[in-house]
């Protein structure tokens, strides 16, 4: 959206009218056309009138972040950490549908891609498709609306009600500074992919997923180990066919695996987490240990730092991942104490933090969130800082190149 200022050298003799016509083409897709014309009562055409129209991009510089995750939408820990880095708490829109999946803070709006389901729960049951199947999702609408928001136009976005399984009446989404689209398919459609300024894939390994789902569902009355297992197994084919391949497109993948520090551990409490960072992404400088491009294994526990069992182990090195050059930072183990965290932070480079200890501070702020004592919390927080850095760089670069002026 551009705001145009009209200057005229003669201010008194001409009437300048600016009619606007607004036409809706789709649910929530608006086009605005502005026509400039002058009307003069003089019969002689006054050739001394000169008009200079300059246009510059307005403050709508929405950047779009894609987050692929199986864990459901908006309320997940990752989102809360991300929005916390940008400042403010993200909350559901006030006064709207209480089952809305959207979260809004001062700078950020998080949209759940389940809202673009083309089939509701009954529809999916009838057709025999899962929510993971592209046939259950309206990618055309997703593309149109994300593009509109990125261009600074508000949209009426549908709401998928996770409780009733129905599609509810739409809610208004105004363009924010940072738009996060979270869900199963942010990188599935190539048009949507091209709109993303940065993309993240949260890759939970099968063993860890199983352990987490047991923790989550064993308390549920109807569930048993068998039903939890059956549910995971039934969804696996669709997951591997449609969701997993998005990994190759992500700028950052956070991979969560069982620990290697405890042989035969199957409790899934200690985690090995890998931050896989794509090289060559604009505005994104990967985090590293010791020196970029080198390979290093590091155990911070020793004389300066005493850790409890099983300790902490770091790794950093260049790798090839899904055909891309990447740099991987890996953490296996758990933080027990504040000084472990700050010690580790002081040895990581390219964090894009604004002050010494910012990562530690963010982790402590949300000490009650799951993953606050291991690599998941650490890397999610770091990715949050990276996105903030990306945002600031994009804003700075756009300020330097306004759209050029045209003479009438």
């Amino acid at each position: 959206m551009a705001a145009c200022t009209v200057y005229s050298t003669q201010t008194l003799r001409t009437n300048i009218s600016i009619p606007t016509s607004s036409s809706k083409t789709h649910v929530g897709f608006h086009q605005k056309q502005v026509v400039f014309y002058t009307k003069s009562n003089n019969k002689r055409i006054n050739s001394n009138n000169r008009y200079l129209i300059t246009c510059k991009a307005s403050d709508s510089q929405t950047i779009v972040i894609g987050l692929a995750a199986d864990s459901g939408c908006g309320k997940s820990t990752f989102m809360r950490r991300l929005t916390s880095v940008f400042g403010g708490a993200a909350e559901p829109p006030k006064g709207g549908n209480p089952d809305s999946n959207t979260l809004i803070s001062d700078t950020t709006t998080v949209i759940c891609l389940d809202d673009y389901h083309s089939l509701d729960r009954t529809g999916r049951k009838e057709k025999g498709v899962t929510a993971l199947d592209p046939r259950a999702n309206d990618f055309d609408l997703m593309y149109e609306q994300v593009k509109a928001i990125k261009d600074g136009i508000s949209v009426q976005k549908p709401i998928y009600n996770h409780v009733t399984g129905l599609l509810d009446p739409p809610e208004l989404i105004k363009p924010p500074k940072i738009l996060v689209i979270e869900g199963l398919h942010p990188m599935y459609d190539s048009r949507v992919r091209d709109l993303l300024d940065f993309s993240i894939y949260l890759d939970i390994s099968n063993e860890v997923k199983f352990a987490w789902k047991i923790q989550r569902d064993m308390a549920e009355r109807g569930h048993s180990l068998e039903s939890i297992k059956a549910s995971i197994e039934a969804r696996k084919p669709d997951f591997e066919a449609y969701i997993d391949p998005q990994k190759q497109y992500a700028d950052a993948v956070i991979e969560v695996l069982p620990t290697q520090l405890i042989p035969d551990d199957n409790e899934g409490k200690i985690l090995r987490v890998r931050l896989i960072q794509k090289e060559g992404v604009k505005y994104f400088s990967p985090v590293y240990l010791f020196d970029e491009g080198s390979t290093i294994s590091w155990i911070p526990c020793g004389r300066k730092l005493t850790c409890s069992y099983p300790g902490i182990k770091f790794f950093y090195g260049p790798e090839s991942y899904k055909g891309n050059e990447v740099s991987v930072v890996e953490m296996d183990g758990q933080f027990d104490r504040l000084d472990e965290l700050i010690y580790v932070e002081s040895h990581l480079s390219n964090l894009s933090s604004k002050f010494y200890g910012e990562v530690t501070q963010q982790m402590l702020k949300h000490a009650d969130f799951p993953g606050s004592n291991n690599g998941t919390g650490l890397f999610q927080t770091i990715v949050g800082l990276k996105i903030r850095d990306l945002f600031e760089q994009i804003v700075a670069s756009r300020a330097e190149t306004p759209v050029g002026a045209t003479k009438a």
Partner: protein
């Protein structure tokens, strides 16, 4: 209105039974897979509802929407 965790739990239980029945008929059908997907969706919703219940304090919630009422007023000095 968001359902209470209790009602969601009922839904989860029903969906599991339904999935088991559907899959008994035909274990490789789309209907069977879709049924388990529904179980996953409802389990996630039930878990979120439980978390929300744990976090929420009825007075805080009321105060957020009605800060001017006597019970919710805050005084800074």
């Amino acid at each position: 209105m968001a359902l209470e965790p209790e009602q969601l739990s009922n839904k989860v239980e029903e969906s599991i039974k339904s999935a088991q029945e559907t899959c008994d008929d035909d274990p490789v059908s789309g209907e069977c897979v879709a049924a388990w997907d529904e179980v996953e969706e409802l389990s996630a919703a039930a878990s979120h509802a439980r978390d929300r219940k744990k976090e929420s304090d009825p007075l805080e919630d009321y105060g957020k929407d009605n800060p001017e009422t006597d019970v919710c007023r805050t005084y800074d000095n």
